[in-house]
């Protein structure tokens, strides 16, 4: 029983990391209707920048500040060079553009900063904590705490600030928002910058866990099942989805894994996601589509 609990808790905690990545997607999708395939690349970029700076003697606080500034600049560039020229194009086109974007970001990031694995030490030690018989990773606990804090900050942002309310307006009805005089372009820049910051936090945590390397950008593939379960437009959904995926992955690896041999998690999770989609549970087009013709 305690093995089950341990696996479950470990899974839930690591699930919060998935939630973190998924939140980045949700933000962008909510505000600009784009599925940003490049979110993972931005994550990698953020983590790489931070690591490169600290490796070269820049103190942590300054490194964060510089990275944040870079992410904001990137968000502005993306809005001007990618989103604006592609307004009103189909979701498929936009998605392919973000696929291209991911290549640009990865190419530039790794071109400048190199492709070797880098260790990232955030000062959080991965000590085991024992609650009764159950082993919990301290790192996972801290990561979950950070994710929670981030969610609180984000919900404050959306519900209490003027920008946040404008953002929600844009997400609900772009045309109405435009007619109210909301500067859509500015909103998009802000959203992408915030998504970048969320990516930074996620990137740092993931990087500390498994080293900063190219595979970080592949977290986007992990985020997909989370988004299918939790929906593409809901932050609480992303959290719940992340927990479910994390727990599911962990339990599957431990209990089903031995029968199928290890390494099943990448596709099993995707397959479960696809099964859900097939049954019609997930995705905004859920039941009968009322797409206007």
């Amino acid at each position: 029983m305690s093995m089950f609990l341990e696996t479950l808790i470990g899974g839930l905690l690591s699930g919060t990391m998935y939630s973190l990545v998924a939140i980045g997607f949700v933000l962008i999708y909510k505000a600009s209707g784009v599925f940003n395939y490049a979110q993972g690349s931005l994550l990698l970029f953020a983590a790489l920048t931070f690591v490169t700076l600290t490796e070269n003697g820049v103190p942590a606080y300054a490194a964060i500040a510089i990275t944040v500034a870079l992410l904001i600049a990137t968000a502005i560039a993306i809005e001007k060079l990618l989103l604006r020229p592609l307004t009103n194009r189909s979701p498929m086109t936009l998605f392919m553009a973000t696929l291209g974007l991911s290549y640009v970001v990865e190419g530039v990031a790794q071109g400048i900063m190199g492709s070797q694995v880098r260790a990232l030490n955030l000062g959080i030690e991965d000590l085991p904590i024992f609650v009764g018989d159950i082993l919990i990773s301290q790192f996972d606990l801290v990561a979950a705490g950070v994710a929670l804090a981030l969610v609180v900050v984000l919900s404050l942002l959306f519900n209490r600030t003027r920008i946040g309310i404008q953002l929600r307006g844009v997400a609900d009805d772009t045309r109405a928002a435009l007619s109210l005089g909301i500067d859509i372009n500015r909103i998009w820049q802000i959203v992408w910058a915030v998504a970048g910051l969320v990516g930074l936090v996620a990137g740092l945590l993931w990087g500390a866990r498994q080293g900063v390397q190219f595979s970080l950008s592949l977290v986007v593939l992990k985020a997909l099942p989370v988004l299918i379960i939790g929906g593409f437009t809901s932050i609480p959904g992303a959290i719940v989805g992340g927990l479910i995926v994390g727990a599911g992955e962990s339990l599957a690896e431990t209990y089903i894994g031995p029968f199928l041999g290890g390494g099943i998690t990448p596709w099993l999770v995707d397959a479960a996601g696809f099964a859900l989609l097939f049954v019609g549970r997930g995705g905004p087009a859920g039941g009968g589509s009322r797409g206007g013709v």
Binding site: V104, W267, G280, V293
Partner: protein, 323 residues
């Protein structure tokens, strides 16, 4: 033009044939396959690598376990197997739209990457988990192992499949696909058999990708493994058709030419500008960034890719490859 194509192996160096022309042809074929699904039928797929993999491994299994099966037939059967697999993974497309479909195709990608590594039966238990044709290539009794043989084998496959695809596009099925791509609700309303046509698109596309995969493994690489057909391959084929032109047959060829030649051009450029101090990693990343920029540029400016750009510049001379 046709004469030049047929005589090419005698005009070009062995290096060019092995390293540039043959892969170019195979990538064009793969691009053609994916273009039917994504460019014509509008079903976005990141599973091109997976279906190529299925074709390659199926060919290997057939050659190994059904020794009397001639290679061309083995290729066709392998293609059919890939086509059937494609249909299965295409089933979700009847319920989900647009980019959600990539989840299904990604699941296919990862699933096969796991499957072909996990079960030694697929690679006949050799220690490096690779597949290769032990008897080499032979077509109707002729040895096709040398560069000339491989060129003609590949050329034959590509030419035949291109012709058949062209016929298909000009037929009711092609129209059904484009209708689904442009507006699938309206298509259903006017009587297009949407479910049927989508599955057909997956089947035909995967059939072609399967054959391309087999050729890639055995006519180009010699031996292959799961890595040869990973997610990066899926990206590559998708980029080929975006750059070359979605929804055109010649787009696959233009895109493949571009993708095959760009690394060479960059390499030469770097050598020239930096006189030989080229870090392979840096080169790859620059290439990556350039691809990304081009994708975005093409999507913004010219969704029909190179095929439209070049058509505008072309004079009245009749096109060799129809769209």
């Amino acid at each position: 033009m046709a004469a030049a194509v047929l005589a090419a192996p005698f005009l070009a160096s062995e290096y060019w044939i092995n390293a540039i022309i043959v892969p170019f042809l195979i990538l064009s074929l793969a691009g053609l396959g994916l273009n039917l699904l994504t460019g014509y039928a509008g079903q976005l797929s990141l599973g091109a690598g997976a279906f190529m993999m299925v074709g390659a491994y199926a060919t290997f299994a057939l050659q190994l376990r059904v020794p009397d099966l001639p290679l061309p037939l083995a290729l066709i059967v392998a293609g059919l197997i890939a086509g059937a697999v494609g249909m299965v993974f295409g089933l979700p497309s009847t319920r989900i739209k647009g980019f959600y479909l990539i989840v299904s195709t990604l699941a296919a990608q990862f699933f096969f990457e796991w499957l072909f590594l996990k079960f030694p039966w697929f690679y006949n238990g050799n220690s490096s988990a690779t597949i290769a044709l032990s008897r080499g290539l032979s077509v109707f009794g002729l040895d096709a192992n040398g560069p000339h043989g491989r060129y003609y084998l590949t050329l034959g496959a590509v030419a035949l499949i291109t012709l058949l695809s062209f016929n298909l596009i000009r037929s009711q099925t092609g129209r059904n696909w484009m209708a689904i791509r442009d507006m699938d609700t309206a298509a259903a309303v006017i009587g297009v058999p949407v479910l049927h046509a989508k599955l057909q698109a997956f089947a035909v596309s995967s059939f072609i990708l399967g054959i391309a995969g087999a050729l890639w493994a055995f006519a180009y690489l010699g031996s292959a493994s799961v890595q040869s057909f990973g997610l990066h391959r899926s990206y590559q084929i998708l980029f080929i058709i975006i750059i070359g032109g979605l929804g055109t047959i010649r787009g696959a060829f233009f895109g493949a030419a571009f993708v095959s030649l760009l690394p060479l051009v960059l390499d030469w450029l770097f050598q020239y500008l930096l006189s030989g101090q080229v870090d392979a990693g840096l080169l790859q990343n620059v290439q990556k960034a350039i691809f990304g920029i081009l994708i975005i540029w093409f999507l913004i400016r010219e969704p029909e890719g190179l095929s439209r750009l070049l058509a505008i510049r072309r004079t009245a001379s009749r096109r060799l490859f129809p769209s």
